[in-house]
Symmetry: C2
Subunit: 235 residues, 2 copies
């Protein structure tokens, strides 16, 4: 994906330091809890794995997510912030999302990981354009693909090739995932003013207008459609 919103990203925090700091703590807290639940989810998916090799592969990806979580926790501690307190506000939305989208089998788990992480990663990358250098470097580092994408695409495509009729069910599943993700994202945006302000304010700071916000969502949607196509599914 691209973060071509135009202009150079700021190398220093924007004007309102207190608000910016709150937003960064929110962002890192949300990401940290996201990585911790990604760890759990991949470990859960490992239980569905059809072979012990697949199980070990999922476990390795879960460990990579945990290591990302640990990096974010260290950063929060370095900022003098309690990681637990930073993560707390995002627990309800992330737990609700995962409760409502518990995969019922191995393939649903893979689609969820690929499609869900894809949207989350795209979103955080867009936001990272409005961050100071040091925070942006950290965010991009923890967004690095842990090898899960390739793995999920290979397994899902092979499964559809072997049994084409499952494509319909998995496509429906993909749409449900996006719907639930959007509904939880709206909940977070409504509750976390600083975070919402970072996005809108950061964009305003760089001369972006509402049309740019619209273009960002269009990019997120386009990328989602491409990912579904990569899996061999209609979005």
């Amino acid at each position: 994906m691209t973060t071509d919103a135009g202009g150079e990203p700021p190398s220093d925090p924007p004007d309102d330091d207190a608000g910016y700091r709150l937003a960064v703590v929110d962002l890192l807290g949300a990401l940290a809890y996201g990585e911790l639940t990604a760890f759990e989810r991949l470990a859960d998916d490992a239980a569905f794995a059809p072979t012990v090799g697949d199980k070990a592969a999922l476990a390795a990806m879960a460990v990579a997510e945990y290591n990302h979580f640990a990096l974010l926790r260290t950063r929060l501690e370095d900022m003098g912030v309690s990681p637990e307190e930073a993560m707390d506000p995002f627990m309800p939305a992330l737990e609700a999302f995962h409760e409502r989208t518990a995969p019922s089998d191995w393939l649903e788990g893979l689609v969820k990981a690929y499609v869900g992480d894809g949207i989350a990663t795209d979103f955080y990358r867009e936001v990272s354009a409005y961050l100071d250098d040091s925070t942006r470097t950290l965010v991009l580092q923890v967004l690095e693909d842990t090898g899960h994408s390739r793995f999920a695409v290979d397994r899902v495509r092979a499964a559809i090739e072997a049994e084409p009729r499952i494509a319909g069910r998995l496509a429906l599943w993909g749409r449900r995932l996006v719907g639930e993700a959007l509904s939880q994202a709206q909940r977070v945006a409504a509750e976390r003013d600083a975070l919402a302000a970072l996005l809108v304010g950061g964009m305003a700071h760089r001369g972006a207008d509402l049309a740019e916000v619209g273009r960002m969502f269009a990019r997120l949607t386009d990328n989602h459609t491409k990912r579904m196509a990569t899996l061999g599914l209609s979005a």
Copy 2:
């Protein structure tokens, strides 16, 4: 626990190389699959964690188990053995054990990890006395406590102090765990001749007799009783 079975451990593999090699592959395969399921189980338990700090602590322990698994897998590969094939024979017994002893809450998960891993660790340490130096060093390395024992004891004791009536239920749970573990261990011993021969043969090699086998089981039982007492539970 102690491995005071007397005499020096062998620094070279015992006489029958082919049988010994089979037994070592079995042992490493069983341990590797045990570590991989320990990873999964701890990650599962993390979902029950009452606080995000406890969740992160469990995740860190799960990662440590995965790293042990990776060490064992590398050793099996170095021996020219497929890790999957080495682990396969032990999947049914380990999966059956975990299916029959799925914890229903956070405390049952902690008791299971402490009591179950304790017995397994004691058993592998006893067996390690009959291994060549290099294999023994690896086995002892992957048996190292990942910090889970201290964590489980602290949490379980505090919970019993706060609500003494749960001790009865958890003591029953501990007894059920041991019963299931023994029944699965018997199944493995009946099916894996080389592994059973390593234990009995290794002991014979060192002049141990049936009385020594009996003493080993007595040590395992004693240590289990001590662990239950450490938790504040009757065995």
